[in-house]
Symmetry: C2
Subunit: 253 residues, 2 copies
Amino acid sequence: MSRSGTLFVIGLGPGHSAVMTDQARTALRQADVIIGYTGYFAWVEGLVQDKECVALPLAQETTRAQLAVDRAQQGQTVCVISSGDAGIYGMASLVLEVVEQRQVGTVLPDVVVIPGVSAINACAALLGAPIGHDFAVMSLSDLLTPWAWIEKRLMAAAEADFVTVLLNPKSAKRHWQYGRAQEILALHRAADTPVGVVRNAYRPDQAVDITTVAGMLDVRVDMLTTVIVGNSQTRCFQARLVTPRGYDVAATR
Amino acid sequence: MSRSGTLFVIGLGPGHSAVMTDQARTALRQADVIIGYTGYFAWVEGLVQDKECVALPLAQETTRAQLAVDRAQQGQTVCVISSGDAGIYGMASLVLEVVEQRQVGTVLPDVVVIPGVSAINACAALLGAPIGHDFAVMSLSDLLTPWAWIEKRLMAAAEADFVTVLLNPKSAKRHWQYGRAQEILALHRAADTPVGVVRNAYRPDQAVDITTVAGMLDVRVDMLTTVIVGNSQTRCFQARLVTPRGYDVAATR
């Protein structure tokens, strides 16, 4: 059997090349073939012009992962590109699962995950410092996860006063989950608890809104929106959210 | 009153310049003065040689934040540098709190938070894809947070099957908290649940260990260690952790 290639799974950051790391660029330069969702190729244009680029539509995540492992097993250096951080609801877990499945009687590629600035980091920065203390991150999509698990996690995060980051709050086909999440959070948070809502962070149509637990259903959200619900300590001033770490900033110098 | 300057709070990434973003570099180039913990200046050496650099020892976080706001109020362009992501247990919340305190009768600086690859992103990437699904992030340091809150969050994260990221597991002065955290997690996780332990991610003395909930106290941890405890779905193969998103990777193509 021949030697297998390297398979990089790369987080490109939230969608602006200034938020990409050099580590990601270096991996792209080494690649024979780059595989990703069609929309992501615009972000890496200047880096991939002499490469084979396989652009696949959204919802073909498994196909992308399998193709990437195929090519690496043929000896190629492969890059799978993901938005944000490839390890957070990204392509890294899928690629590794495909490799795991092929473990028997074959040469496996070396998988290298290159971290990126996730939507969570980016949206939090645009809001100020909402995740300056303990936080929970969860997706409201119940396409692949039973809603009962999601609801249990929402209750736990709300009860234990975690700042709560909600991803995929709504989609074209999912409407009620975000409302139910708000109901659960409202059981354990004051109505005026600050909430930040960021759509399309660092993209041309970026929108940053600050609202409250009581008002969070009045702000438009979709699949590209991140909602950060403050905890009991989170404050809002001048359109910024801050969850303090507990330092006494008033201490005399 | 004169116009106030801009205050950038910058996440440098985990400590290797290849994991820094261009956005961070651009902000550093614009700065009149750069303020940070002494150890971080080595990471930005080539970028700051013509700048005023104020290096302050660890544990002077509040002083650093106050000095930064002073300088920005004097009209300077100021960069506060943080490792990882400045918004996650970093300097962003402190700087904003100092600004909040000075709100009355003064010109406030424009604070811009520049996100970075956090220790969480970096350690997860080195382990494979442990945070491919819902996760909770918490610090075990009870210096500024009551232990009762931390314990409540540990129980909630364990019960609700969040992948659980533990920061600051131990320090020179804090010994028992990590053991107590393990006890709580072990109540709700199988003894063989995979656990990843990463020390000094992307730094010269990087160490990556994979263990289990039963074995996690046998691996050395300190302030620069991130511990990622899998959930009921997390698997380990070939020294990689994967928490699946739920796709059927065996589906026929």
